[in-house]
Symmetry: C2
Subunit: 172 residues, 2 copies
DNA sequence: TAATCTGTTCAATTATTCTTGAACAATTTC
DNA sequence: GAAATTGTTCAAGAATAATTGAACAGATTA
């Protein structure tokens, strides 16, 4: 009873060589990023760059994270948009090299700007429109209740508008 | 040229009868809830209850939102856990009746408790473990850099722990 | 100019999450 | 107790989101 000698088992599938420290830090950012509703790959890329003393190019990230070039490129694109990674010039190397931005205030500001604000699009307008409907509500208890609820919605929205920009400031 | 008289077109597929106001408010909460990473159905249920002057039972929600009993039941379960809907007793009706909790501070507190904290599980422990690895880092520039990054991670975590509970307080 | 290198894009696949609907338990009514 | 009512659970299906990989464009080198 023997295994076919012509068939070589593909060992561990290109196990990415990451130190325990790197794995730990990446793991931390993967969880964080999940809470924020971003894809795991974003957390992996940022995590590796965050612990890395040196900037690294796209293909190094691909290899070490065992991630496709497409995902890595897209992930870096988003991270750059947020301002969470920066491109640094590396003399004598044609490739872009990336480092992690580690200033929490900037990270928060970038995240709010790129991820939260766009999704809050037109909320103000829509509430405006709703407020218009309030006038044609009946003059009874139900009408009064609903007008009150609409006002509450408006106040919540204003409060949110005020608070969001302050978020960054709270971060030390 | 005529349509087969025996074939009745199924009209609009049980178009849920919602007023423009209701649609608007539901729409508002659906967007909000999406930003928070919760399923749409949660926003629909809460939105309808939020504008409704009267408490309503599960099957009314199903009918008006055109949503399955399963989804409605699960959605109400989560909303109850967060503290975003309350059960009110309705004399002479065996069914539970639900209303929306509209106190923002309580909503935020419940959301953090049920959705954020559980996901942040063990982050402290894991960071503790990572801090252990710091000691066996080399005494060169790279080692120093990584130790610093680990410290930063620890500070961020502490800061988050302090800030989360305050979130509710900010809400008026 | 051709060949190589670097990085981006996007259609197709894969993985994840949400919703449905039917089966079930627990009450209540007859 | 049988039938009806109310609400929950969960496996299967549907919808959504993330990832891959191959094709591509632009830049650089030979």
């Amino acid at each position: 009873m023997s295994f076919p000698p012509t068939l070589t088992l593909p060992a561990e599938p290109e196990a990415a060589s990451l130190s325990a420290l790197e794995v730990g830090v990446i793991d931390f950012f993967v969880s964080t990023v999940r809470v924020l509703g971003l894809p795991k790959s974003i957390g992996e890329i940022y995590g590796l760059l965050f612990v890395a003393p040196e900037a690294m190019p796209l293909d190094t990230l691909c290899q070490r994270l065992n991630m496709s070039k497409g995902s890595t490129s897209q992930g870096l694109k988003m991270l750059r948009a947020i301002g969470a990674v920066k491109v640094v010039y590396q003399p004598g190397d044609r490739r872009d090299h990336f480092t992690a931005e580690a200033d929490l205030q900037r990270l928060v500001a970038g995240f709010v700007r790129e991820q939260i604000h766009p999704r809050l699009n037109h909320v103000g307008e829509r509430l405006q429109h709703l407020a218009g409907l309030a006038d044609s509500l009946p003059e009874n208890a139900s009408g009064a209740f609903q007008r009150e609820r609409l006002q509450k919605l408006g106040r919540w929205n204003e409060r949110g508008q005020e608070l969001l920009p302050l978020l960054g400031g709270l971060m030390e």
